[in-house]
């Protein structure tokens, strides 16, 4: 059988990433040019700054990825690029480049949904997950619970009504002065703190549906901090970070486990940047073990934005012949995959 090699290109936010993946799972190159240090001084991603950085590095990154994979562009079978959702100016750099590159090589172009790509990070392994599965996608822009019956076949069970989980991490980290990006910063503080010293609400936990809300948790954290300060109490920032993380993880884990039980799935998948959180990984693994359901979580480096996941998602689209035309455009908030049902 001929090997299928897909190049993935990802520029939807603040990472420029290029990867080459063979047969959907064998990662031949996976390069990420992170802009974290550039955006840190702004306290968050600045879209125009991100777009400027993407155009500076994209061509070099493609060249380096090919060298690392030990091949030329002509040996690539298709170019897969993230076209939605994300920062429009940032997406347009990757989409414009990928279209022209595919056209120049005479190879097919594949438009990939960023959320679907996060989910497919779980398939970058020789022993891929089994179906049906329940998948929790948690990142800076998204918190969604999906039922996945088969490849590329998603049913949205529920999602956040306001802030995404990663957004709540970022905002609370910024407020508590823990640094940027918020996820790793809160996790680090929480490791030397203790949950339960303070109490924060588990929002929506009493509801039986799969909707989430994290804006209230963020506000409760900020209010509690302000109240402690006003009363002249010495607030322990690490304990507060631990309680915040625990409150957020409690809701994510319980809703995911409930969905897995209700849908009688064989597999739980985690995806997105917040899936790199050690406490979430540990808790979901323990709870799933108790009910005998398999859990798959990509290694942390494949949870955050990368292009190997884009190439992997692109591979399954390649198998279906789902290609894009020369008029492929970028869309800031389409999120097609999470809406899609099939069969």
């Amino acid at each position: 059988m001929k090997e299928i090699r897909i190049m993935g290109i990802e520029t939807s936010c603040d990472e420029t990433a290029v990867a080459v993946v063979e047969n959907g799972h064998r990662v031949l190159a996976n390069l990420v040019s992170s802009q974290i240090n550039i955006h840190r001084r702004f306290g968050g991603v600045v879209p125009e700054v991100a777009s400027r950085k993407h155009i500076e590095v994209i061509a070099s990154l493609v060249d380096e990825a090919l060298k690392e994979a030990g091949m030329t562009g002509r040996e690539i079978d298709a170019i897969a690029v993230t076209y939605t959702p994300g920062l429009i100016g940032a997406l347009l750099v990757g989409v414009s480049f990928a279209k022209a590159y595919a056209y120049g090589l005479g190879k097919p172009l594949i438009g990939v949904d960023h959320l679907e790509a996060h989910i497919y990070a779980n398939f970058l392994t020789e022993e891929p997950p089994v179906f049906p599965a329940v998948c929790l996608v948690v990142s800076g822009g998204h918190t969604s619970l999906l039922y996945m019956r088969d490849h590329r076949c998603f049913e949205l069970l529920g999602r956040t009504r306001d802030d995404a989980a990663g957004e709540a991490f970022d905002k609370v980290a910024r407020f508590l002065g823990l640094g940027y990006p918020g996820g790793p910063a809160v996790q680090k503080a929480a490791q030397s703190g203790k949950a339960g010293i303070y109490h924060l609400p588990r929002v929506y936990l009493e509801r039986s549906d799969y909707e989430f809300s994290f804006s209230g948790l963020k506000t409760a954290t900020i209010n509690l901090w302000n109240k402690l300060k006003k009363n002249g109490e010495e607030a322990a920032v690490n304990d507060l970070a631990a309680e915040f993380q625990e409150a957020l993880v409690d809701v994510l884990v319980e809703k995911t486990i409930n969905a897995a039980r209700h849908k009688e799935v064989k597999q739980i998948l985690l995806a997105g940047g917040v899936a790199a959180n050690a406490r979430l990984r540990e808790r979901i693994t323990r709870e799933a073990d108790k009910m005998g359901t398999a859990v798959q979580i990509p290694p942390p480096a494949l949870c955050t934005d990368n292009a190997a996941m884009v190439a992997c998602a692109g591979y399954y689209q390649y198998l279906e012949g789902d290609f894009a035309g020369l008029d492929l455009n970028a869309f800031p908030q389409l999120g097609l995959a999470v809406q899609k049902t099939c069969g």
Partner: protein, 246 residues
Amino acid sequence: MLILSIDTATPVAGVALVDDRKTYYEALANTGYKHSRTLLEMINVSFHQTGYNLRDVDAIAVTIGPGSFTGLRIGLATAKGLALAADKSIIGIPTLDAIAHNLSWSPDLLCPMLNARKGEVYTSFYHGGRRITDYQALSPDNLVKTARRIMELTGCSTVTFLGDGVNEYLPVLQESLGDAVVSLPGYWLPRVSAVGSLAASRWLGGQLDDVFSLTPIYVRKSEAEVRMSQLEGEGGFGAENQRDEA
């Protein structure tokens, strides 16, 4: 020699195939900012219409600014993708140089100007076929002051204004500079064949750009960077930066 020339710096998208003597194909789409959807199809049509293909091209020319930030990146990302895939040279042409090139035969003082929003234009001055100022973003008042100074320095009694900024600012310019203002209807648009023709000269002179390091001439910093340098030391910087700019 064959140059594929592309321009998406302004609301007008353009594609041309030229050499140092001749324009074989030129298409302009004055359809507003839809460049990411249309540009590659326009390129594809240019090849179909002429019978050439990407393999026949020696260099890809692209306008690198000033202009719409997003537009510049769509053009440059496209040019880089084509150049890297087909192993072609890349040549970045400043947008204002290309507009001035429309009147390269003129002995007059030329001032191409592009609408830069925020009450400013991107502009530079040209005389005797050479650019004589930096690319800058100027308010109409500062443009008038600069124009007066340069007229004095060059001994020119008129300035010929070109570019889409003329639409908006002609009355203001006429009010301040009176009869010194010349504007030529029909020479306002950037012409992508002019971009190609400038690139053809560059190609013949061996002055090529590097596909990896070529970046747009933005002239302006991003709003967030401007505000950051204003606020540095004062703290209080947050979510208001986190939106897209032009």
